[in-house]
Symmetry: C2
Subunit: 317 residues, 2 copies
């Protein structure tokens, strides 16, 4: 399935950092960057971009902020084919703190937004575009959005100048038939725009859903090394690269970075296939309760988590 339009975006540091407040060593981040470059990965998302007055540096590591100096310490001038992206949450970045793209090594701003934030997301994306950045809008939690609201979001995005829109499986709850439905809807509503996909792996479907998205026409694909990411994590980059037939990609540098830096993180961080995450995904629920359970001494009480999850589903009472 060789499609030359496909772009792969590594978000190992950005999504993985949700599990340890971005407290990664510089060696780890540098290794991820070097291996993305060597592997031919098209974009590396190095973190969230937030203004310094929004979070404390004593609590959060540098990849919660992505200051120009911290990023340059890893990538220098980034004279490579791998572009750099950052993710912006609505309200966490002051417009005045965004420097012109000509003065930054960052190439792309991705804006994460809930459906009710779409106007603000478009405003932020347009602002970043005016400063010279590529942009995307990533609509979160779409499996909780009703049809009329989603139609309005898609109509607003289509009228905007933003060129790339993401299907995001925030809760890892989508099956292949959901992917087909959403992709058809997005493609029909957004002619001429690029569609991306960001999956979560609660039910071991992140890679399978990524393949389904490719079949349905998505061309920007998010993945992380060893699937590291919030809760169950993401589509594993190494499986995606093994699958893609484009000769520009190389697997070996990714394996090297995994064995040197990512696999050892499993001693301290529980991402991946754990039953509380699976249950949350199958219930189409935010992973926050599962993450709290995984951080408690009830971690391996799966029956308890299932009972608790149903008790918390007030709509089922």
């Amino acid at each position: 399935m060789y499609k030359k339009e496909i772009k792969v975006l590594d978000c190992t540091v950005r999504d993985g950092g949700l599990m340890n407040k971005w407290q990664f060593s510089k060696e780890m981040v540098k290794s991820v960057y070097d291996s993305c470059v060597e592997a031919g990965v098209d974009y590396m998302e190095i973190g969230y971009i937030s203004s310094e007055d929004q979070f404390s540096r004593s609590e959060f590591g540098p990849w919660k902020f992505c200051s120009e100096s911290d990023v340059r310490e890893i990538v220098g001038e980034n004279n490579t084919k791998t572009k750099l992206s950052v993710l912006a949450d609505i309200g966490r970045i002051n417009f005045n703190d965004i420097r012109p793209a000509s003065e930054s090594v960052i190439d792309m701003f991705r804006v994460a937004a809930y459906d009710y934030q779409i106007d603000k997301a478009i405003e932020l994306a347009h602002h970043a575009m005016d400063k010279g950045y590529e942009t995307t809008i990533n609509l979160m939690a779409v499996t909780k959005v009703n049809e009329r609201s989603l139609n309005e979001v898609l109509s607003d995005v289509q009228k905007s100048r933003v060129n790339t829109f993401y299907l995001v499986d925030s809760f890892g709850s989508m099956y292949s038939e959901d992917i087909q439905m959403f992709m058809k809807k997005y493609k029909d509503a957004l002619p001429g725009k690029t569609i991306g996909f960001h999956g979560h792996n609660n039910m071991q479907l992140a890679f399978a859903n990524t393949i389904e998205c490719i079949i349905q026409g998505a061309t920007m694909l998010d993945a992380t090394m060893l699937g590291i990411g919030r809760g169950a994590g993401n589509c594993p980059l190494e499986i995606l690269i093994s699958f893609l037939k484009n000769p520009k990609y190389r697997l070996k540098p990714i394996l090297q970075s995994i064995q040197d830096h990512i696999k050892p993180l499993q001693k301290d961080i529980d991402w991946g296939y754990f039953l509380p995450y699976m249950i949350a995904g199958s219930l189409n629920e935010h992973p926050r309760n599962a993450m709290a359970w995984m951080n408690s001494d009830k971690k391996e009480d799966y029956v308890g988590f299932l009972e608790d999850a149903f008790e918390k589903r007030e709509d089922l009472k």
Copy 2:
């Protein structure tokens, strides 16, 4: 996706035993059986059936043999809705050792065969049917079988009295498009017969491929608790049960058995998502080299395994 024809077969003990020579405690096997019954699982495959002169009891646990007395010690008379199955390898069971079904608590013989063994597989299955058992034939390693040979197998099976034929992803190398192709071929060639699916999880696709098989018309679905099985393991039963909408199935007893008996096995047995298994799957190779690598001190040298795998691919030299 409620289809009343769907049957789920748990092969936790049978496929999981490939990782520890079936040295499970009686408590574990009893727990798997009890939870299958309580969860509404249609079949439990309790092990391989082999004649006692074929393997040593000092090396292999009881579920390599499935003697009537060992099975009855777990299931009694099995007065439940869950049927019991055993897997037979060609040449490992003497025909005379198969007792009439009326004298056994075992309900089904499944016959695993390579394409060149299909005549023997049909002979064994017919013999078991004549003794009163349900039967299936499970064609292994089909991703290495050429089109003409596969057509011959399908023609032979269609002419036989065997009612159920399995699509088996022995190497965990199938993508959704492979599933679609094989399922169409099997359905077209075997009108009136039941199609089953047995997946492996090397590329985290066992559950996704199971869904695709359901969509394409397969109705017998293999799975194991926590995905335990050879190498990367199988489709996790708990995700499949969460997905199926048939109200006869219950998730909780399966979670209970996993937390009491299956999860603790991970201390000693490395099944699941490990990169050597992923690489073997993506190369459409038997897992034996990956399993040997995982049992060596090079277990976490993924780059080394990749290089080794390519060196062993003589056809690429």
